[in-house]
């Protein structure tokens, strides 16, 4: 799965939690979950759970704390997918 596809998948996953829909329209690698998308910080764990389910990976606590924007999320997903041999 290339970056463009990952970005598209991520966009679908964060949509229900996003409060700033303009920022969602302009989603890039540099979009911050809390600052730009205005996702309630409590909902970040739900985003992580949805990602885990979608990509069939497990995101540990350390990775979760690093996942603040789209870029870091993509990096972590790619890392976990690679570890799974995909």
């Amino acid at each position: 799965m290339d970056k463009e596809e990952l970005l598209a998948e991520l966009k679908v996953i964060v949509t229900p939690y996003t409060q700033d829909l303009t920022a969602l329209e302009q989603l890039t690698e540099h979009t911050d979950f809390i600052k730009d998308l205005q996702i309630n910080s409590a909902n970040l764990v739900d985003v992580v759970l949805d990602l885990e389910e979608k990509f069939d990976i497990e995101i540990d606590n350390d990775s979760m704390t690093k996942m603040l924007d789209i870029k870091s999320a993509i990096a972590i997903i790619e890392e976990k997918l690679a570890a799974n041999g995909r």
Binding site: P16, Y17, A42, N43, V45, D46, L49
Partner: protein, 425 residues
Amino acid sequence: MTNRVVVTGLGVVSPNGADLMQFRHAIRNGVSGIKKDSQLEELLFSCQIAGKPVIDQKRILQYFTALELRSMESTGIVYGVIAGIDAWKDAGLVPAHVMEPNWDCGTIFGTGTSGIDKFRGAIYKIDELQIRKLGSTVVAQTMMSGVSAFLAGKLGLGNQVSTNSAACATGVESILMAYDRIKSGQATIMLAGSTSDSGPYIWGGFDAMKVCPYKYNDRPEKGSRPMSISASGFVPGSGAGAMVLESLESALSRGARIYAEIRGGHVNSGGQRGSGTMTAPNPEAVQRCITAAVRQSGVQSSEIDVINGHLTATVKDTLEIENWIAALGRKGDDFPYINSLKGMIGHCISAAGSIECVASVLELHEGFIFPNLNCEDLHPEIEALVSRDKIPQTCIEKPIQVLAKASFGFGDVNACIILKRYENG
């Protein structure tokens, strides 16, 4: 400083009417909300009938975001939020501005449990070592104050936001707590009410205590029989009732419709002393509660036109009548009209008091006395105490001035409120 307190908005989610309009029609016409419950049957409950509100899924979307609904497993919060927001709108009020709450508006919204289905799911996940899969919504739905927190967020309430719990007296207590807050000048408008979860995990404990009827599974509408010789226990119910309380000054200044005035009330406990226990009321405490409520309200007991009883359809109904007689000093022909909504909707546990208060306020405002269902075979001990015509079985159209409503709960707790028709002062 003490303020007079009036009711300016009503909202209700009841087994026999999931909004105010349906509810008004149902209580005037004696429409039962008790139905066979297939889930209770599958789970081998003795009592397989219940009173459960029926809410259109599309309507729920008007009150909750899609995200909130995605993980919503708290029927009590759904009922409470719908009833509460309806009451707010009915009072002609709108949510606070997005940047600042209404500092003078708060809520006391009671419940006995919260999100019991959510709790069940969370417990299973934890025991299966899946704690990391709980997500973020367990706390907000299972904390008792979840319902008041949801309401406060949706309406932008900046005064006291809290949840009370006093078993089946919860609903009347919440209204009295909100009343006190306005009366003492600490708030101008309070959303008061209570809610109760649906389903086997809240009703199961009562079924196990054998306090629910098991002989009416094939005749659900006949199962809840307050004051009847054939009463054999209370039918479990659920839902929510809500009302907007407001200082008279505030209501008049904004030209709000005034449904009724809250003249006063009292809450107390029998302390589980004398014949009072966890489950049985201490009669002296019940009588003191009623007497104190009447005294505090400044009305004479002779002025009370209607009693909306607790009357759950157990062996304690006669004792309740005896307590009203002792507290008011009135009996036979002189006894006020008395009715119990539980014949139509069962016992909605922590929501009972608030739903029944909504019915009481409608009676005062519109001038009617709703009928008692299923007491055509009136208990002879009750008939010996109160004239039969004071226990109506068809709706009576009649202006009424003063209504007393009481609720009594496990833990030997009592609450009584005195409501009065409001007529320009």
